[in-house]
């Protein structure tokens, strides 16, 4: 069943910058949380820590009330990067990677890969070189790759930021189907407020490494309690 995630007092310091300055956030299991904020506000850093790709300088991540270390988080969470990363192999091998390292049998791999590629509309792309796919196709590949390993927590870092409108819509449709599923917990970062409104169950505003507001979409847009958030939503916010 879907897991509840809690970030508690997360801090992250790089050299002389503080990317996260005490972030505490609850992410409800089975729902989609959208994380919005200006560029450089700490969205990516937050996502990477939750995904277990980086250690916080302070603070912890709890899954269902139990603290998890980075290497444990990596087993239950997966992050889809803003700029898609692909292995220099075929589309099939990219999706199969996660399965192979888990020791799944060859037949099961073939079945699963075909299934996931079909679910993102890349069924006929199996033999193609992954790096030759278009931007939108690569993001769909990334999703198929993530689904194949069945993560409890799916993190999407600005998944449509670099895509053309048609591809962006395709990705959003896939995300919608996850939502209907309600088996996974999803965190989606975006600077597209409309997208957040379209897709999320809850929206959190992060600003210079701090959470300013967490609310459901209607409240977030109509009536945010934080002054800065209000400015952000209305587009008035200067750097």
């Amino acid at each position: 069943m879907a897991h509840n995630i809690r970030a508690e007092g997360l801090e992250k310091v790089y050299a002389d910058t503080k990317a996260l300055d005490g972030v505490t956030l609850d992410i409800e299991g089975g729902k989609i949380l959208a994380l919005v904020g200006l560029n450089g506000s700490g969205k990516t850093t937050f996502m990477r820590i939750i995904a277990g790709l980086e250690e916080p300088t302070r603070g912890s991540v709890l899954v269902d009330k139990g603290k998890m270390q980075s290497h444990e988080l990596r087993k239950v969470a997966t992050l889809i990067f803003q700029r898609t990363a692909t292995f220099s192999t075929s589309v099939f091998d990219n999706v199969a990677f996660g399965l192979r390292i888990r020791g799944i049998t060859k037949d099961q791999i073939e079945r699963k890969v075909s299934e996931e590629l079909a679910s993102v509309g890349l069924a006929s792309f199996q033999k193609r070189k992954a790096k030759r796919l278009s931007g939108g196709e690569q993001q769909r590949l990334a999703l198929a790759r993530a689904f194949a390993i069945n993560p409890d927590l799916l993190l999407l870092d600005e998944p449509t930021a670099n895509l053309d409108p048609a591809s962006a819509i395709a990705i959003e449709n896939i995300i919608r189907t996850i939502r209907e599923d309600e088996r996974r917990t999803v965190v989606l970062s975006t600077h597209n407020l409309h997208q957040a409104r379209r897709l999320a169950d809850k929206i959190a505003h992060i600003h210079y490494g701090r959470i300013l507001e967490v609310a459901n979409p209607d409240q977030f847009f109509m009536n945010p309690s934080n002054e800065i958030t209000r400015k952000f939503v209305s587009g008035e916010l200067q750097f």
């Binding site: 075929s90 192979r100 199996q126 033999k127």
Partner: protein
């Protein structure tokens, strides 16, 4: 992590290439091993020698004939200047030397590194130069020729190229300048005296390019002349001052421990060079191509008495205390002297 994929076509061709690369490597290694094992008789004799013997091709013939006679010994020649050849032997990296510098050979014996010296052949250096002979030395005695070359050089009429390395040829050249009463160290600073610092062939080619005079052994000169590498002509030949004597010396097994195991092979080789068969090889070499022997067998000449004057010169130039090898430098030398 195993790699299984339904994309058979591409996998196969990559696998094929990978396998063929592996095959090539295996073939290469096998060939290497094969080539290496093809010549592994019991003993490897290493002879360090002069470039003038090496470059003429005489040694190839000696090797073939010697190994026919003694198939259990594999002889290899390392070509270096006389000085370097001696150092290599002193280090034990060579088992014997075949060189042409009596003064340094004596030191080699005196320092205890060598035993059983045997003079095997001789020939003459030649002083060669441009056809026009700007210094007008053709036919003159060698020492006088050198003096005239110096005079012409100072008048900017002629040039001289010196070997400039530690070879026996260079040592000869330096001693000739000394006999002529000139200080070689000073000569090096003059513009008409050039130093090649290289092999005999390279030195000859430099002399050719510059239209200069130089001292060469007859073998290398004739070989290069017939290859049309040079057009220099002989200005001065023969005469006692141009004598070039080749001797073989074995490493002293008592002093150079690492060479002890090959002392027998060295002895066999030296005896071969001194034998009728070996001496015949020296005499025959170059006869058909150049009409004369490039290396005159000394022992044959000695025994036949055909040229007592040259024998006298050899003894004056290259004998120590009246013998080619004084008794204290002989070791297990039955049958050699």
């Amino acid at each position: 992590m195993t790699v299984h994929s339904p994309k058979k076509r591409r996998r196969i061709s990559k696998k094929l290439l990978g396998l063929s690369a592996l095959a090539v490597i295996l073939v290469a290694v096998a060939t290497y091993v094969y080539l290496g094992s093809r010549s592994s008789p019991k003993q490897h004799l290493i002879v360090s020698t002069t470039t003038s013997l090496y470059e003429t091709g005489l040694l190839d013939v000696l090797k073939v004939e010697f190994e026919k006679r003694y198939p259990m010994i594999n002889v290899s020649f390392i070509s270096q200047g006389t000085g370097l050849a001696m150092q290599t032997a002193m280090r034990g990296d060579a088992d014997m030397i075949l060189v042409h510098d009596a003064a340094r050979e004596l030191k080699f014996l005196q320092d205890g590194y060598g035993v059983n010296r045997k003079i095997v052949a001789y020939n003459f250096f030649v002083l060669v130069g441009p056809k026009e002979d700007p210094a007008k030395v053709k036919g003159l005695p060698p020492i006088e020729a050198l003096r005239k070359i110096k005079e012409s050089g100072e008048k900017n009429l002629a040039l001289w190229v010196s070997r400039g390395d530690d070879s026996g040829t260079h040592a000869k050249e330096q001693s000739m300048w000394k006999t002529a009463g000139l200080d070689a160290a000073n000569l090096r600073k003059t513009p008409w005296y050039l130093e090649a610092g290289s092999t005999m062939t390279a030195t000859l080619k430099m002399a050719e390019e510059k239209g200069a005079y130089t001292l060469s052994d007859i073998g290398t000169y004739l070989v290069n002349l017939s290859n049309k590498n040079i057009k220099l002509e002989v200005a001065v030949e023969s005469g006692k001052d141009m004598l070039n004597v080749y001797s073989a010396i074995a490493n002293n097994p008592k002093k150079i421990e690492v060479a002890r195991s090959n002392f027998d092979a060295s002895t066999i080789f030296i005896k071969f060079l001194a034998s009728e068969e070996g001496q015949a090889i020296f005499e025959m070499f170059g006869k058909t191509k150049f009409g004369k022997s490039l290396f005159i067998p000394y022992i044959r000449t000695l025994r036949s008495g055909s040229n007592p004057e040259v024998v006298k010169w050899v003894q004056e130039l290259a004998y120590f205390d009246g013998t080619e090898c004084p008794a204290q430098y002989r070791y297990q030398s039955e049958g050699l002297y």
